[in-house]
Symmetry: C2
Subunit: 204 residues, 2 copies
Amino acid sequence: MPKDRSPTRIQKKNRAAILEAALEVFSAHGFRGATVDQIATQAGLSKPNLLYYFPSKEAMFTALLSELLDTWLDPMREINAQGDPMEEILAYVQRKLQMSRDFPRESRLFANEIVQGAPRMLDALSRDLRDLLEEKEQVLAGWMAAGKINQTHPKHLVFSIWALTQHYADFDVQVRMLMGDEDPFDAAPEFLDTLYRRMLTPKS
Amino acid sequence: MPKDRSPTRIQKKNRAAILEAALEVFSAHGFRGATVDQIATQAGLSKPNLLYYFPSKEAMFTALLSELLDTWLDPMREINAQGDPMEEILAYVQRKLQMSRDFPRESRLFANEIVQGAPRMLDALSRDLRDLLEEKEQVLAGWMAAGKINQTHPKHLVFSIWALTQHYADFDVQVRMLMGDEDPFDAAPEFLDTLYRRMLTPKS
DNA sequence: CGTGAGTTTGACCAGTTGGTCAAATCCATC
DNA sequence: GATGGATTTGACCAACTGGTCAAACTCACG
């Protein structure tokens, strides 16, 4: 394993190559389904060389997770309690949908792990996600109480946004199989915008 | 492998026990993550005995899939083109939500497979699901054209129902972690009912 | 240049896994 | 209760997998 002084040029390049390859392979096959050899080939390095940079397969996975989780939660952090409620929520939905379009591998990485009970992720989730959700839940509840948006269960509202947006990344093959030539992401933004507008616009 | 005459009492019992065990293990770990030994232990049989009833691990998986796919698509088949549009859709949503509550393992089995590109399922899906969706899409489009429900993209409408309902099964650990003591399925029926009612009720 | 730390790898190992097989056991039927 | 097919399994195998290690190679720096 490289010493933990400031990383050399080679260390920086190889660590990045390994994590990129790990994302590709882990997101496609899950933790158990991925092999170190696959990741090595994908990264253009030898297997022992990977294990020179990371002590184990598990270490690659957790390093990848902690690198990605922050980015993954950013769209939610950006929800501004002082902004216009309806527009804040709609913008959040669109940001999350963009994430599914632009980073489907990241979405599938998390999906794979959570579907199987998140054995390697539950700690990170309960540390970073729980508080963030609670904070934004308060914001949503406030907007509802003030009559700015229609009343609903704030947690289920957030879950619905996650479910609807991530579905386009996680179930990509199914969605594309059923949509034929049409790109799902052509109509999805408007569909979700309409859905949440109708759902949340307060009755006059 | 048992001869393919009419199955004996023992064959019926053991095949059923194996498929039940396979569902338990495959849904929790995915195809690659599951081992034949795990399934054998779960079924209370020896590994060679499993392979007496099914020629391979893959055969267990595909047998399980084809047994479940029909049941899985039933809620959608029940949508009645002659019924009341809004109530038909809302009833479909509730049926699908019940499936997530009552058969989460089945939901996760499909989720696991589709997230990873559905390598062992795409054929079955494109055979059974494609036609069914196209049929119901026509029904929905008809209802929209007749002004019975609000206009939207019918395919995305169906995807949204799948995403929202299956989310409670597939992301169960995450949802429960974030909801604490509260059972997600307490508020979910009303939440989804409200969501689709607001979304689909035609403007006066 | 030379030199020592940083990097790379071929060969190897132990544990796991899907699958085989011959022998043993069970069980329905006569 | 004998008999032949159905069922079960212990022992085994080859392939794969995560990980190790000593030896070789590369590179930055004096």
